[in-house]
């Protein structure tokens, strides 16, 4: 069994093929098939637990083409990712079964969903960077297609394009990084690259360059500043797609890649510094936008960016393990929040939280599950989000800069605030618009309940995970850090409570103060505007100018130079022409003229006469034949039959 572990993702592939072929007949039942396929992969992966926990590294590889192997590798890191991802994919597909019930284009939807899951699994089990990159790009394609699922809507179509192109910017860097590593070590394989790095075969500057480039890819895929712009727009896709992108695949692929390559990042202080700066900016930057967002899914999208920022900061100060822990916990509670959001939007019919309110009355199960997710992301002790966020804070406090630490604390407060703002606005108080709330079907609630449980308990994975990954020590426990983070979260919650639930503080009174920043944050710092209007426009302009310059000075220069030299040469040849060549030509012309007089006579009377004769004969013949050629098939057949009779008679000797 163990030797065949690399075939374990096959059920997902089988589901993909079934959906691709029979999707039109199966319709939404494709979701169940995908869920079963993913569930099978989940169960098969669980059977690997004994081998993985005993510290084994399962590797299977064979030659793809000379020098490059196709390899599969399951160790502690990829095993836990595999478990989490297949579990989530399976739940999300089960959820889409009801959620997408009456949509059109389900074959396309489910094919791409399952392909998304499959390529994420392939990305996780790949044992070399090339294979990872392939899976990475397939995911880019899937995200493009799924975000633009409602492609009749122009905003959805352009959101898909934006996601694809923005992540592609990062991918170019990533490919460069991979190629730098390949050029330095001659291999794509993780182990070979690591051993080359530890034996000093690659210089530190090469490592710094490669890691920085690969981080560029991660910035694109995991939506870090400044390539975060695609993620808020990705909300145009159906909700299960958002859940998949935010929780299981896509943004987590970037984090996984960083953790996978952490032996390289560890040694490059410069890269770590950059990562930390980017992460710190992202954390606060996104949290501020989340506070003012009015769209359910958009709040969650900004919170994803912010939470990913947490992981990036952790990765920037040697905290691969806290980052991994947060990746896993975040996967659970963000999937929960998104599926819950879908459940609410499904029944209310709009994503605008200003039009919701009082949903809890209708959707008790969804509401309770969402409360668990909200508490978890806010970092309340006892829930999973607290455990990993705390690990990150401790790590930053110990190894990172104090500035980042304070930013993270502040963001913790903001996170609690905007999440509870969301929760109170949606689930409590009075209805703010006329909608008919109802609870979602069972197949949407099962994933919610399971994820609700996971959101509470996934923090308990910390100790088993430490055993799995052979990590003996984490950052030292520090009461100040723990208390301050809890206090920050509580301040945020109380703030939300006062403003949005008890309504003791009426924000309308502060309109004049808030409206300025509100507009600024709701327009996303005008960053998208900046990118589209200034960078893109000037980029086009500058590249046009460069092309023009090249054309004018280099190409035109060559042509003009060639023209000038030809002119000079021709001046010399002109002299030779006039006296030698022209004289010869003139004599020849006179002789030719005489001869042509003779041939002219022959031409007119003999050749032309023959031609005219032939012409007359042909025209006459044509006129005669035209009568027979009347275009009617039966006439032709008649003559055929007459011909056959004649021939047969001749052969038979009648005539």
């Amino acid at each position: 069994m163990g030797d065949l572990f690399w075939l374990y993702p096959l059920p997902l592939l089988a589901a993909l093929i079934i959906i691709f072929i029979f999707g039109d007949q199966l319709q939404e039942k494709s979701g169940l098939i995908g869920a079963v396929g993913s569930g099978l992969v989940f169960i098969l992966s669980i059977t690997l637990a004994p081998a993985v926990f005993s510290g084994d590294k399962l590797v299977y590889s064979f030659q793809w083409f000379p020098g490059v192997n196709l390899g599969f590798r399951i160790d502690g890191l990829s095993w836990i990712m595999l478990i989490v991802v297949t579990f989530l994919v399976s739940l999300i597909l089960l959820y889409s079964y009801s959620y997408m019930e009456h949509e059109k284009g389900l074959r396309r939807f489910f094919s791409f969903m399952v392909l998304f899951g499959f390529s994420m699994v392939q990305l996780i089990v790949a044992d070399n960077l090339l294979q990872l990159f392939i899976a990475w790009e397939i995911m880019g394609l899937c995200s493009y297609s799924l975000i633009g699922f409602y492609f009749e809507k122009s905003s959805a179509a352009s959101a898909g394009k934006k996601a694809f192109l923005t992540t592609k910017v990062g991918d170019v860097f990533m490919l460069l990084g991979i190629l730098v590593l390949y050029a330095a070590t001659g291999s794509f394989n993780y182990d070979e690259i690591f051993s080359a790095a530890s034996s000093g075969l690659i210089s530190l500057s090469e490592i710094a360059l490669a890691t920085l480039f690969i981080f560029g890819g991660v910035v694109g895929k995991s939506a870090q500043f400044p390539l975060h712009i695609w993620l808020p727009d990705a909300m145009e896709g159906p909700t299960p797609v958002s859940a998949l992108i935010h929780a299981a695949a896509m943004v987590k692929a970037g984090m996984y890649l960083m953790i996978r390559l952490y032996p390289l990042y560890e040694v490059s202080e410069f890269t770590l510094k950059i990562i930390m700066i980017v992460g710190t900016i992202t954390v606060l930057f996104a949290a501020l936008m989340a506070i003012f967002a009015d769209d359910f899914k958009q709040v969650l999208a900004f919170s994803t960016i912010s939470q990913l920022g947490y992981m990036t900061v952790a990765l920037g100060c040697l905290g691969a393990f806290p980052a991994l822990l947060h990746v896993i916990n975040h996967a659970f509670f963000k999937a929960l929040l998104f599926l819950g959001a879908g459940s609410v939007i499904h029944s209310v019919g709009t994503g605008d939280i200003r039009k919701m309110g009082g949903v809890f009355k209708y959707q008790k199960i969804t509401g309770s599950a969402m409360l668990l997710g909200t508490l978890s992301i806010a970092g309340i002790p006892g829930f999973s989000g607290f455990v990993s966020k705390d690990e990150i804070l401790l790590q930053v406090y110990e190894h990172g800069s104090l500035f980042s630490y304070y930013i993270l604390l502040l963001t913790g407060m903001l996170t609690a605030f905007y999440m509870f703002r969301l929760y109170f606005m949606v689930f409590t108080r009075e209805k703010r618009s006329d909608y008919h709330g109802h609870e979602s079907p069972v197949s949407m609630l099962i994933p919610l309940v399971l994820l609700g449980i996971a959101a509470v308990f996934s923090g308990r994975l910390k100790n088993p995970l430490m055993g799995l990954l052979n990590i003996t020590e984490t950052a030292h426990h520090n009461n100040i850090v723990v208390y301050s983070s809890v206090a920050a979260a509580l301040i945020g919650i109380v703030g939300a409570l006062l403003i949005y639930y008890l309504k003791i503080i009426d924000i309308k009174n502060y309109d004049s103060v808030i409206s300025g920043p509100k507009k600024f944050f709701q327009n996303r710092y005008y960053f998208d505007y900046f990118v589209e209007e200034i960078i893109c426009k000037y980029f086009v302009k500058i590249s046009g100018m460069i092309t023009m310059a090249i054309e004018r000075w280099i190409f035109d220069g060559i042509v003009i130079f060639a023209a000038k030299s030809i002119k000079i040469i021709s001046n010399y040849t002109k002299v030779a022409d006039q006296y030698i060549v022209d004289g010869f030509v003139n004599k020849t012309a006179a002789i030719t003229k005489t001869f042509s007089g003779i041939s002219n006579f022959i031409d007119i009377y003999i050749f032309d006469g023959a031609v005219r004769f032939i012409e007359i004969v042909t025209v006459r013949k044509g006129e005669i034949m035209l009568y027979w050629n009347n275009g009617k098939i039966q006439t032709y057949l008649l003559w055929t039959v007459v011909g056959i009779i004649l021939i047969v008679s001749l052969i038979g000797g009648v005539f």
């Binding site: 009347n630 275009g631 009617k632 098939i633 039966q634 057949l637 008649l638 039959v641």
Partner: protein, 106 residues
Amino acid sequence: MITNSIGLSQYLLLSSLIFSIGIFGVLTKKHIISVLFSIELMLNAVNINLVAFNKFLPDVFVAGQIFALFIIVVAAAEIAIGLAISIVIFRGKGTLVLEDFNLLKH
């Protein structure tokens, strides 16, 4: 008595009669469907020929009948295609009268 009096030549006579009717139909009928019928007649005349030869000639076992089967299959295919073409023509020109078709002239 009667069976004895029917020999090979009677069969051939019958088949050539049918074949001639077929040719006549092909050459004179105005409607495509009728022409297709006539072609069927010609093919069946050939069938009669083949089966008759099979019966009256020695040392041929069932070759003639097998050929007749082939022809039936070919006839079916041919009529299917013929009808399909007729439908397409009808859609295009709104008529199936052969007189109106003189595209071959051009």
